[in-house]
């Protein structure tokens, strides 16, 4: 268009932009202060030697990163994190999916079961961890009481490096089922009933319908739950702090716990920042990969 915009219209446009930014400004300001700034600050600090208060003292380049890559304990924390993710994420989703399929049946009293299955969403990590700690107690906890009853030998669930990660993972799966179940149930209920009705008319059985209708139609929800679970698993802290404190022999020293220890117990802020940057990159990479890999297969309605 060659016609110049009248002056006043330009002003209204500006005021739209101004008012839009006004509505967004509280969020933008807080994201700026508590997310963007600290993200860049973390990257910055990862190149510095700092004092115990996190004040940068001297530029050390990639030294913190170099140290990490040659440190056995860092690799062990990577190993613990990956192990933890692999032990918790698939299991949580599979169990929660099973429960959601059960709870999606139209039966009398199904509401009670839905409530029961989602209960752990209302349970804090701290409270859950304390309960599991008791259950794992070597002398009076239910697990060893059970082993004793069947005549097997006791297991040091949280103190044996062989079992500790598995034990923490099992507790975590239980804690995360509530949320995952709730989302998957919602996804199942959003599937158009008529799809099943026409499949019934065609005479297909439950398992065929599950494979041909339910799973494809649920795939966007599964995808969402997958990403959220993965990111959450990388951020695990509470149950580690309460159940094992990263031990025994660092076998459960997952990355966030390692960052916490380095920053707030060992006061190695630079090293902690370097690990934080790597955590950030890992989450970014995984989210991106998941998008790339699953995007094509996800069946959006």
């Amino acid at each position: 268009m060659t016609v110049a915009l009248p002056r006043q219209r330009v002003r209204t446009r500006l005021s739209d932009a101004a008012s839009g930014l006004l509505y967004l400004s509280p969020s933008i300001a807080l994201f700026g202060i508590f997310l963007v700034y600290p993200l860049f600050r973390t990257i910055y600090l990862s190149f510095f030697q700092t004092d115990t208060q996190g004040t940068p003292l001297s530029y050390v380049g990639g030294e913190h990163y170099a140290k990490l890559f040659t440190s056995a304990s860092f690799w062990q924390s990577i190993q613990a994190t990956v192990g933890f993710v692999l032990l918790t994420v698939p299991l949580t989703i599979i169990i929660a999916l099973g429960l959601a399929l059960l709870a999606n049946e139209k039966l009398r009293g199904i509401g009670i079961f839905r409530t029961a299955f989602s209960a752990t969403m209302g349970m804090s990590v701290a409270a859950s961890s304390v309960i599991w700690m008791f259950m794992y107690n070597p002398s009076i906890g239910i697990f060893n009481r059970f082993l004793e009853a069947v005549g097997a030998s006791e297991v040091q669930w949280l103190l044996d490096p062989q079992y500790a990660l598995l034990s923490v993972s099992l507790a975590t799966v239980w804690m995360n089922i509530g949320f995952t179940f709730l989302i998957l149930l919602g996804g199942l209920q959003n599937i158009d009933r008529t799809l099943y009705e026409s499949a019934d008319i065609a005479g297909t059985n439950y398992w065929t319908q599950l494979r041909a209708i339910t799973i494809p139609m649920l795939s966007p929800t599964l995808f969402f739950v997958g990403i959220i679970s993965l990111i959450n698993a990388f951020q695990t802290f509470g149950q580690i702090d309460l159940l094992t404190k990263g031990g025994p022999t660092n076998s459960t020293n997952v990355i966030v716990y390692a960052i916490y220890k380095d920053a707030f117990i060992n006061y190695n802020v630079g090293g902690a920042s370097a690990q934080a940057v790597l955590l950030f990159l890992a989450v970014l990479l995984l989210t991106w990969l998941q998008f790339k890999l699953v995007e094509r297969k996800v069946h959006y309605q």
């Binding site: 268009m1 009248p6 006043q8 219209r9 209204t12």
Partner: protein
């Protein structure tokens, strides 16, 4: 009462022009219908007048004052939306009065006006209800009440009846028209339904693809369609059209049927248009014979379908005709009622009687 003037109004989204320059003046107190097929730009046009869309170029004047940059609320107009846009969580009363505070009315005045509008539209008993507790027709009345309660001199309506069933639609047509007369509103009424436009409007504008096809009184558009688009859009069933060639004997369709329209033109090819109701059973003069392909007996009239130069034509005969498919019938069309359109689809004006005689003398 306010008039609305559109001067070379255009609208473009990025590079695409959706309104290609509209000039029209809508007189104060006039019922003006904007008609066209979906996507023709009529709603965009209305929304530009309302101030909900910016005007890319051209000038909009309301009561003589340039209004391009006025906010919607400063244009002294009210609007009724296709989906009514009622606030679902508010009672009918709150829906009607919401916004009146901006006009500086006290609570008492707001209530008075609301009662008055509700009275006019027969909503008095429903004031405490929520929209979802109302029928479609009642919701539509609430939307109307919300428009008239503001006492704005201009009222815009965007397909207000399209969500109602046919019976209710006919009833509301006349009610809206009466309301407009009573309140002396300047009304701009968008519809895709030509029957609504024909029955309600003082004048109408037919739009297609962002361009004005014709502006005028409904019967002008019906009797003297400016082009083949108008001819085929207005009227139900629409005007029959078929290509014809000029010969020494007259105009010939591709199947050899001959017509003598009362028109003088240098064109060699043209499109012939005849309205279905102007094809009548022949008494003495026979214009053409038609072999029936389909018959629909509707009680008050009978619709006959036949082939005309490869195009299906329809004839509408009053009354009930016991005809059968395949039957050959004789049809008559008054030459004065034949329309001819040039190769661009524009109407070729018929010869004026006097000129016609003069020319005949010449020959």
């Amino acid at each position: 009462m306010k008039s609305i003037q559109l001067q070379n109004i255009k609208k473009a989204y990025d590079e695409t022009e959706v309104i290609r320059g509209i000039d029209v003046t809508i007189e104060a107190g006039e019922f003006f219908a904007l008609v066209g097929p979906s996507g023709c730009g009529k709603s965009t046009m209305l929304r530009m007048i309302a101030g909900l869309e910016s005007i890319t170029s051209g000038t909009l004047r309301i009561d003589g004052v340039a209004a391009n940059d006025l906010k919607p609320s400063e244009r002294q107009l009210s609007m009724v939306f296709q989906n009514y846009a009622l606030y679902p969580h508010m009672t009918v009363e709150k829906n009607i009065t919401f916004g009146l505070h901006t006009k500086g009315l006290t609570k008492l005045e707001q209530r008075e006006r609301c009662l008055e509008a509700a009275e006019t539209l027969g909503l008095t008993d429903y004031l405490k209800r929520k929209p979802r507790e109302l029928s479609g027709g009642q919701r539509q009345r609430v939307a109307l009440a919300r428009a008239i309660v503001t006492e704005s001199p201009i009222c815009l309506m965007d397909e207000p009846l399209s969500n109602l069933d046919a019976k209710l639609r006919a009833k509301m047509r006349s009610e809206i028209r009466q309301l407009q007369r009573k309140l002396k509103l300047t009304m701009i009424y968008v519809t895709h339904d030509q029957v609504e436009a024909m029955t309600m409007a003082d004048r109408m504008m037919l739009l297609n693809d962002g361009e004005v096809q014709q502006v005028g009184q409904p019967l002008d558009l019906y009797n003297k369609p400016a082009n083949t688009f108008v001819a085929s859009f207005i009227g139900s069933p629409p005007m029959n059209l078929t290509p014809v060639q000029r010969t020494d004997n007259g105009w010939v369709a591709s199947d050899g049927r001959l017509f003598h329209p009362n028109t003088l033109t240098r064109e060699d090819t043209a499109t012939l248009g005849i309205r279905p109701e102007q094809i009548t059973p022949a008494n003495e003069d026979v214009t053409f014979y038609a072999e029936l392909k389909n018959i629909e007996v509707l009680g008050t009239e009978t619709i006959l379908a036949f082939d005309m130069g490869g195009v299906e034509w329809l004839a509408k005969w009053p009354g009930q005709w016991p005809l059968s498919i395949g039957e050959k019938i004789a049809c008559y069309v008054d030459p004065k009622q034949m329309s001819l359109f040039d190769t661009d689809g524009n109407r070729i004006e018929p010869r004026q009687p006097k000129l016609f005689e003069a020319l005949e003398v010449f020959q």
